[in-house]
Assembly symmetry: C2
Homo-oligomer: 336 residues x 2
DNA sequence: AGAATTTACTGAACCGGGTAAGTTGTGGTG
DNA sequence: CACCACAACTTACCCGGTTCAGTAAATTCT
């Protein structure tokens, strides 16, 4: 079945291709009567402009790219990405931009994908997640002059806009809360140490702990349940084990809860647990987990808005959005 | 920065645009020496063919579409979709096809997205999930002659290829296993009743139960943790409550486990739990959940292969792939 | 050696929209 | 009535690849 083109509409309306283009794009150059006639015909025959033809003349592909650079194994259960994606979508589909997705194994491959996408003019911009120290993606994005928004800073990104949340404030709130409950030995199981927001959190955790006269014990991990379990076991076999653990994501917190239960420790009696990034997962388990909640979808929507503005040529500045706040649930209590 | 085109290459190589096109696409019509010279220049200046221009002449967009039609809330935690996506990706990126994603609220909107994508020639085919009874998407896909592969049958899809897994065999295996352990009161918390694979499972569950002389008690749910909790509570407050529950996905099973613990029931002592769709989630909780495991990524990869074959004009037949098998873990044991 | 075929290209049309420049026709103005 | 301004179009070319018809030179065949 041949898909209709503006030439088909032009023939049926008895006008030229150009007139149809003007009419459908709301440009001046056609009378209101003709415009309505053309729009009606387009409606009737189910016309959709060929995006390739449009991109070829107009330069905009009306699509943005997102790469997911984590092992497939963990991608599957981290609610974070899906939350982010639905946030993007809400904003993108409202402006009828498509979202192109690619799963990559390493930052090097990710850079290759950016080069290809941009070279092929497949996308108008990209959303970059998991900013690292001396991130190799940043200079490439600048060199390509590819519109981008970076999530997970703050860090050095030159002219590229960033969005981040106040992780330092959130972890400070969590530690203060645990101390108020009477905890003195608070440990933390962190995400990938190479990521900038992990470093921000670690620094803030160290600061608040030392200012309260506590020892800051952070065990690095990688966001997976397996590593979260392992880190938790290492912490709990210690003679003066912590009475509370803060995890950098929900998946590791759930894994930690299981380890505590397996070792016969009562949660929250013997061990309090705080999870970063609230998700339905946190309320599903027993006891439900106290979490540092933030609206990830809104965070994603915000990033998408900034990116679209940047694509439109507007100057975009760095913004802080989606500060997390503590949602107390059953997994935290005064230590016995 | 101006991105290079074949005209730039042609000028530098001192040949015509046509020759460059032949050379880069491995077509006959240029000498090996010229081809290598052209390829070298393309490499050097970092040439990528403009996908829009290509799609405009060649008709192929080198992209496939996937819509996710579930509320964002559950999308976030269902490992299933992410597993499927990484499976697609493995196959698609190997053949340098892009994956275009859209989150939709209803099947009606999903159909609209298909129409638009196809009309805009943005995609060459789609992967359709969650086949329903009298699915409204099927006639539209046929009318548009949009290449598609359907996951989640079997059902009536006419000429459109389907991929499904042997859900009936899997649930039969699970029931037989529980009966062998000594269970006589086995309940099931199902997914959305409108989905065909849910119906397949329900039918098989009824069959095996009646053939073993058991009562088949299925409580319909919707794959969310909330509904899974509610269904579990309803089952467990009963005077002759089940000694084992089979859940249609991992999220509901985890929720069910939490409800049992909250009600003071020991798992697996008082209640055995079997989860459909194994994911890291199942091994994270305590006790780890016995699951009906299948390789979802491979399932997705298979679907992608079929779709690409169908786009290439090959006749694709219905296939059964990725049969689930029982992975016993700590959540199942003989009833007390 | 001359004809027939093959090789290695060139030139131009084409895909389907966008858009600048040119062409009507209408009405107003001095 | 001639002149100008403006709306309402049409014409023609552009974007960047693909592809087909044509052409000249090199190679093969008889």
């Amino acid at each position: 079945m041949k898909r209709p083109t503006i030439a088909d509409i032009a023939r049926r309306a008895g006008v030229s291709k150009g007139a149809v283009s003007y009419a459908l794009n709301g440009q001046p150059g056609v009378s209101e009567a003709t415009r309505q006639r053309i729009v009606a015909i387009a409606q009737e025959i189910g016309f959709n402009p060929n995006s390739a033809a449009r991109a070829l003349s107009g330069a905009s592909a009306r699509a943005v790219g997102l790469t997911l650079c984590r092992p497939a194994r963990i991608l599957g259960i981290e609610p974070w990405f899906m939350g982010l994606i639905s946030g993007f979508e809400a904003e993108l589909s409202a402006r009828s931009y498509a979202l192109t997705l690619q799963v990559v194994a390493t930052p090097e491959l990710e850079v290759e994908v950016y080069r290809r996408w941009w070279g092929e003019r497949r996308i108008d911009g990209v959303i970059v997640t998991d900013l690292r120290e001396n991130d190799i993606r940043i200079p490439v994005l600048q060199q390509l002059q590819l519109p981008a928004v970076v999530i997970g800073g703050p860090g050095e990104t030159g002219t590229i806009a960033q969005i981040w949340s106040d992780d330092a404030g959130a972890i400070t709130e969590a530690v203060r809360y645990l101390v108020a409950l009477g905890h003195r030995r608070i440990a933390r199981v962190s995400g990938l140490p190479g990521l900038l927001h992990t470093q921000t959190r670690t620094r803030a955790f160290n600061d608040i702990c030392s200012s309260l006269g506590l020892e800051a014990n952070t065990v690095p991990s990688d966001y997976t349940g397996e590593e979260g379990s392992r880190a938790t076991r290492r912490l709990l076999i210690d003679s003066d084990r912590p009475t509370a653990i803060i995890y950098d994501n929900d998946v590791m917190a759930v894994a930690g809860l299981a380890v505590a239960q397996e070792m016969g420790l009562a949660v929250p009696g013997d061990l309090s647990i705080v999870a970063w990034d609230d998700s339905p997962l946190c309320s599903l388990v027993h006891p439900p987990l106290t979490a540092l909640t933030r609206d990830i979808a809104e965070y994603g929507a915000h990033a998408a808005r900034e990116l679209l503005a940047s694509i439109d040529g507007k100057q975009v500045s760095n913004v802080e959005a989606g500060t997390a706040h503590l949602t107390p649930r059953g997994s935290t209590a005064p230590p016995r």
